[in-house]
């Protein structure tokens, strides 16, 4: 399954505003996307509770994965979003 690593740029990690913006973008994709931290189990990237449960802070690396038509584009777009400081 295609996957990319992304480094979280938002200063307080994935919560509230950064999480909302990210989830909106995930829901717009044509394919389901998962997110995982380290060796953790991949979770639904459109779930705010799963995102919060990752406990991912600024500088942590997460892995996004998706399969099917448009997967590569989706991953590239979402990686770029995570690597932007959405708290700013």
């Amino acid at each position: 399954m295609p996957s990319v690593d992304a480094t979280i740029a938002s200063s307080a990690g994935l919560h509230a505003r950064p999480a909302s913006i990210f989830i909106d973008a995930v829901k717009k994709q044509s394919v389901p996307v998962t997110i995982a931290k380290g060796d953790g189990r991949p979770a639904d990237a459109s779930s705010i509770l799963s995102l919060m449960a990752l406990g991912a802070g600024k500088g942590d690396v997460v892995t996004l994965a998706a399969e099917g038509e448009g997967a590569d584009e989706a991953l590239a777009e979402l990686k770029a979003l995570l690597e932007t400081d959405l708290d700013a």
Binding site: A12, A16, A19, D44, S46, L49, S50, M52
Partner: protein
Amino acid sequence: MTATEQSQTLVGIGVGRGIAIGRVLRMPDPLPEPATTPSTIGPDSERDRVTAALQATGADIRERGERAGGKAQEVLEAQALMADDPTLRSEIDTRIDNGATAERAVHEAFGGFRDMLVGLGGYMAERAADLDDVAQRIIARLSGVAAPGVPESDEPFVLVARDLAPADTALLDLDKVLALVTSDGGPTSHTAILAREKSITAVVGVVGARELVDGTDVVVNAGSGEVVVAPSADDVARAEQARAAQLNRASVPIGPGQLADGTAVPLLANLGSTDGIEGALAAGAEGVGLFRTEFLFLDAGSSAPTVAAQYAHYSKLLRGFSGKKVVVRALDAGADKPLPFLNDAHEENPALGLRGLRALRAAEQILRDQLTALARAASESDADLWVMAPMVSTVEETRYFVSLARELGIKTAGVMVEVPSSALLADRVLGEADFASIGTNDLTQYTLAADRMLGSVSSFQDPWHPAVLRLVGEVGRAGSAHGKSVGICGEAAADPLLAVVLVGLGATTLSMSPSAIADVRAELRQHTREQAVQLAQAALRADDARGARDAVNSLVAELASS
């Protein structure tokens, strides 16, 4: 209840002396945990109910967010995402498929995520409250009851609650709150502290407050601790008159604290950080009676702050009170306020454990560094620095602290009297110490053996109790015999009438939240020293806190009419 029914008087513990007249609005109680009884309508119907409740709750939260705007909208948007979270939904469905009701499935699914967030600690753990709020809203909708939370109204109201949590008070529009009435909670509960800080009329721990319903007219009298339900026209007229008289009195101009006969009673501020300096000065504080230093240590992380870092803070504090008295309390921590570099051992009963001066003595370098930093800051300032040790329980501890403080260059060293043993031996404690300051919250806790943090015994936590007052009197007598200052720095000093009683018992200075100073200043001006002593004697003769308050109130009325 309507106004045609006979009026009824409920009794609790008043905070301050305010009087308010208004309509009740209840804060809904937290929902009970949904029962584990299996569903009787089957998984498909339960799933439909959940779908409807989640959608409606999410929409409701989004709508509130749009109304609020700004930061609040961001928080509410995140909460709305929780309501339509796909992972949560599958957790709920799994439980429903196993036979749970919609309510129970929502409760358990949220509970699982909640535990996970709490396990992560820090910022995420604080979000657990947001999650709880969403869960309560969904369950309320499923059960067809009002969602818990702060009620909203365009008209001012008397808020009736079990007790207010800090999260509730943050959302409360205080301009609309005429008074607070709680069924639980004592004089040191969050509600009471909030009321004192914001000068809101409040009566806490009111038996029968749970039965008050929305729309009932009440008169809330904090001075007498009474809530008159469905008052008569006479009751209302009397209350309005009393309130008008009070408003007149509160306009005593800012100036030094003194009794009607001119006896000076300096009014000092309790501060928890240097942020409060301006507010304290604006309120007319004549100095600082209690500067808590815990924040310096709590913010420092895994090791104690350096002498240099502490010195910078103390210098800032002393600069703010140039030419005035500043009483700093040495670090007050223990198992109840654990610090990794002090005592973070688990104790069954932290209030009776290695805390206050006991903990400092076990880690003497921390105390030495703090005293060194304080002495250095004082040597460059014209403020009058006094330093006191927290939770001193023996004469020997007093001697230890005073001699260490002197060795490190502190000119005026005293102790806090919070433990009955120190009050009972105050004559000898004050033989060693330069001054004493009575912490009435802890003194009450230890005298009545009632945990300050425990709601079920909060009715014991009343500094009006004659046993507490008698101990204060012991310290006052010793202070006067030795010619030494006896301060009060607990919540008791912020209760205007109790403040007069404490002066009658021999307190020479009063220290309180800056917002309480105006009311206390106005009350002190109403009584002579001789009257304060009479009021104190009336309080001491009572059997309990309620009796003491009643006796003092009626004597005040008698003295005023004579």
